[in-house]
């Protein structure tokens, strides 16, 4: 038996899988950021302004990674 026998094969553009992988991290990150912000505002509504700014910074960093991940489409599918 060949140790490297192929049990599954993909045909088509592998970059689609790359987008899927690039979407997992930001989705989890945004969920955590927004969920924690909701928790915090529910606890201390008077801090809503500060918490919004912190949430915005968190979202910015999370989505930056996603943007770069999706933008690799320009490089790797050329």
């Amino acid at each position: 038996m060949d140790a490297t026998s192929v049990v599954a094969a993909i045909s088509g553009n592998i970059a689609t899988v790359g987008y899927g992988l690039a979407a997992i991290g930001p989705a989890i990150g945004i969920g955590i950021v927004v969920g924690k912000t909701i928790e915090s505002i529910a606890r201390q509504p008077e801090l809503a302004g500060r918490l919004q700014v912190l949430m915005w910074i968190g979202i910015a960093f999370t989505e930056a990674l996603a943007l770069i991940g999706i933008a690799t489409y320009f490089i790797f599918v050329s």
Binding site: G49, R50, V53, E63, Y73, I75
Partner: protein
């Protein structure tokens, strides 16, 4: 039917509650959460940074790939800065509904909805721009990365330099 109390004298309910008149005015007096100033400042500085990056990247792109490089650098800068600025803009938009009873739902609906739509648009733009003869993918990709990292640096600097008081959104019974 049980909540109607016709035997309560009307003067008592009005005389013992002098506050509601002030409370009713309070939402109109407040100009939204205290984060608005920080977000507006970040948008302003992000725009200035975009101009600077566009100029530098256009020069570099022009030297590397000619006119195609200039166009690619401009598109890359615009994509990076616009897509990062949409978050702050969506928060500013959502903060207009502070007085609403459904503010939390509206806020996260607008912010996360804008986030979702933004990524769909980003993918569509990427597909449309792919393979165009007037686009240099390398120049666009590198410009986009520079724009994204530059925007993050500007955001962090703006937040670090901002002065936000603790308990800034407290609404006291006196209507303040």
């Amino acid at each position: 039917m049980t909540d109607q109390q016709p035997d309560r004298p009307e003067t008592e309910s009005t005389a013992s509650r002098p506050v509601p008149a002030d409370e009713a005015r309070a939402p109109q007096q407040s100009s939204g959460p205290s984060s608005n100033l920080v977000l507006k400042s970040a948008l302003l500085w992000g725009g200035l940074l975009a101009l600077a990056i566009a100029v530098v990247a256009s020069v570099v792109g022009g030297l590397v790939a000619g006119g195609v490089g200039v166009v690619s650098a401009l598109i890359g800068t615009a994509m990076a800065v616009v897509y990062l600025g949409i978050t702050a803009a969506s928060i500013l938009l959502a903060n207009r509904f502070t007085a609403s009873d459904l503010f939390v739902g509206i806020f996260f609906g607008i912010v996360l909805g804008a986030w979702l739509v933004k990524f769909v648009l980003f993918i569509v733009v990427a597909i449309l721009l792919k393979g165009q003869p007037w686009v240099n993918p390398q120049v666009m990709f590198l410009t986009m990365i520079v724009g994204v990292i530059g925007s993050l640096v500007v955001d962090v600097v703006v937040v670090l330099r901002s002065r936000m008081p603790y308990a800034s959104d407290t609404r006291l019974p006196g209507g303040r």
